[in-house]
Amino acid sequence: MSGTATGTLGARVRGLLRRPLRAWRHSLEFRTILISTVATTVAIIIAAVWTALAIQTELYDSRRDQTLADAKRAIDIVQSSLDNAAVATDRAATQQLRQQMLQDLNTASSTRFIAAFPIPELSSDTMPSGFTTRTDGLFEGSMVSDGLREQVRTKPESQWYQAIGLQHPDGPEIPAIVVGQQLEMPNVGVYEVYLAYPVSDVAQTLAFVQLALAIMGVGLVVIVAGVVWLVMRSVAAPIVEVSRASARLSEGDLATRLPESGQDELATLARSFNQMADSIESQIRELAELSLVQQRFVSDVSHELRTPLTTIRLAAGILHGERESFDPVTARSAELLYDQVARFEQLLADLLEISRYDAGSVELERESQSLSDVAEQVAESLRQVAWQHDTELRFHGADGDDVAEMDPRRVRRILRNLVGNAIEHGEHQPIDITVAQNETAVAVGVRDYGLGMRPEDTARVFDRFWRADPSRQRTLGGTGLGLSIALGDARLHGGSIDVWSQLGVGTHFVLTLPRGAAADMVAPIPVEPPDALTTGDLRAGNGPGTETLIVRQQQGREEDT
């Protein structure tokens, strides 16, 4: 229970925090407003506190000085009147003198909070008792601290003061300053007299000033936040516009431009952006045109070659058909001519296919097909060739449904190429053709146990016209474009061809075709074959020459010319 409760609470707190955090990370406007508001608030608080303190000090100081002066004047008047009075000798006279003194104090000072205590050490027996002018208990001798009284008692010439609270039994405390001084009744004794001056008006003034400062502070913070918001809006809106335009530009909308108005920095930004966009657009167009010209040239050349090639082929066909009646040299020449014309034709066809990929003008003819069926057909069609090469083809179909949308003609072409390569480089070892599937993709692996390739060769295996070993004799013909075309076909399907190879161990090509979105594709067949794991020792022993290299050729058209 508690776990759930704290869980939901935690979730709620996180939920509450998420939005501001998100805004903080994502909105320059929010961040700027927040920072400037916080900074302004701090500055205003410091200023207001300082001002309030200064005013407070000033108010209290002047009030204190006033108070002290008032008290001093009153005491002085009373003292001089006491000094001038006839020396009291009896109790009645001292009582009268005390009464006179009380009255004088009341009239001479501006306060009604007066208390007096005789100082026993300096007083005779006839000294009258102390008094206080208040009967309501608002000001009593007990409110004066002992420390102050000690000071007053021992330092006769000075005024002493302290801040106290005048405590009404059932009312609020009234702040006050109490001033203490000695008052001598000649020949009778010395009083310590305390005059309390309420300063509640000062406190009121101060409270008002503080309130005014607080209101002003809050108002300023709000105004600053508002101003910053306005400024940010005028600055951030164009920046947001620029960032949107940049995003559109990067998505390929080359015609994106910003409105240029005014002469300020933002207009300069818009102009620079537009210039940049202009230059990008023109460069891309230029490149696209160049590339188009080149593609068209390749395509045109290939097509132009076709008409004379047709003539040559027909002529070679006639000669080839008649070779029985030629002398041996001419007959062999006719054969060579015939074979090489066929090769030339294949080369031209491959070249055209490549130029179609480059031009992006290839359309797949998709249909639902079982990859096992397609792969098995290819294996069957190449069994004769394999047999001639003394090579066994071992076909392993997929478990379960391996139907995927594919262009079977192209998939057959890919597999013919992979299996053909395996036969050619397989050193008469058996070749394993394995089909597998999962929910995201179908795949076929072609594994030979032949020569294998060096890592640097493996990396280049999909390059056009590239050959692992130029000196090696080709027995199955081929144009050097086969794997490039195979890769092009695989990519058209959103799939990939991966290759693993190790010198002296063999080569493993894996064609993977996605069933749905290519991005979600999980390879059903790992390109590194399971038996490769056992060759770890071999690799360590034989040095860098036998290192394994796995090349992943993912979809996405990186140009490799």
Binding site: T307, L314, G317
Partner: protein
């Protein structure tokens, strides 16, 4: 044989001659139709790209006057030229470079005598097909079809309950034993419909079976 490349034309001539055909040549598109009228060949081999007048235009002009089989020669199969040529009435096309056997096979398919199995009369939709006489009638009205269109219609009408895939029609009518261009079928079905249907948009004679192919409409 209409081709501006005289070497190829001559070579094709040699190949065809060795297979027992006679050839006449024309290297200029603008003269092709005149040469055709003068020679009255059994079949026209037509290059698509010609000086003077292009192959598509020549094809259209010949079709106005005759249903003579026309095979186009083209260097590229992936352009709209091929479809335009088929739409203009060419029966088939062959992509350079071709081998001689292929060329001869294509020509023979187009020249083979229409198989007069028996003197049967087929009915499809509101049409009557006299197979032996090579005639198609709607009531008393004679509809003129090219031999290819006639063969296509007969193929469909002879098995009215069967749905033909495009591949089956390619094999039966065009003689392709491997996967070929299904545009051939699509274009010629359209051409056939434009001649035999009262409303080509709402066909009654050649019905489309979505996702499979075509079949003949019920006879009425």
């Amino acid at each position: 044989m209409v081709d501006d490349d005289t070497a190829l034309a001559e070579m094709i001539g040699i190949v065809l001659k060795s297979d027992g055909f006679e050839t006449a040549f024309c290297a200029d598109g603008s003269e092709a139709v005149d040469v055709w009228r003068a020679e009255k060949p059994d079949l026209v081999l037509l290059d698509l790209m010609l000086p003077g007048k292009d192959g598509i235009e020549i094809c259209r002009e010949i079709r106005v006057e005759s249903g003579v089989p026309i095979i186009m020669l083209t260097a590229r199969s992936d352009t709209t030229d091929v479809v335009s040529g088929l739409e203009a009435g060419a029966d088939d096309y062959i992509v350079k470079p071709f081998n001689p056997k292929e060329l001869v096979a294509r020509i023979r398919t187009r020249l083979r005598p229409a198989t007069p199995e028996d003197n049967q009369t087929l009915r499809v939709g509101d049409l009557t097909i006299d197979v032996a006489a090579h005639e198609v009638r709607r009531g008393d009205e004679l509809i003129s079809l090219t031999p290819l269109e006639f063969e296509l219609l007969v193929a469909l009408a002879s098995k009215p309950q069967q749905v033909f895939t495009r591949e089956q029609l390619l094999e039966q009518v065009w003689g392709y034993h491997y996967k070929a261009d299904t545009r051939l079928v699509n274009v010629h079905v359209q051409r056939l419909r434009s001649k035999v249907e009262r409303d080509p948009d709402n066909p009654r004679v050649v019905m489309t079976v979505r996702g499979v192919g075509y079949r003949a409409g019920a006879s009425s």
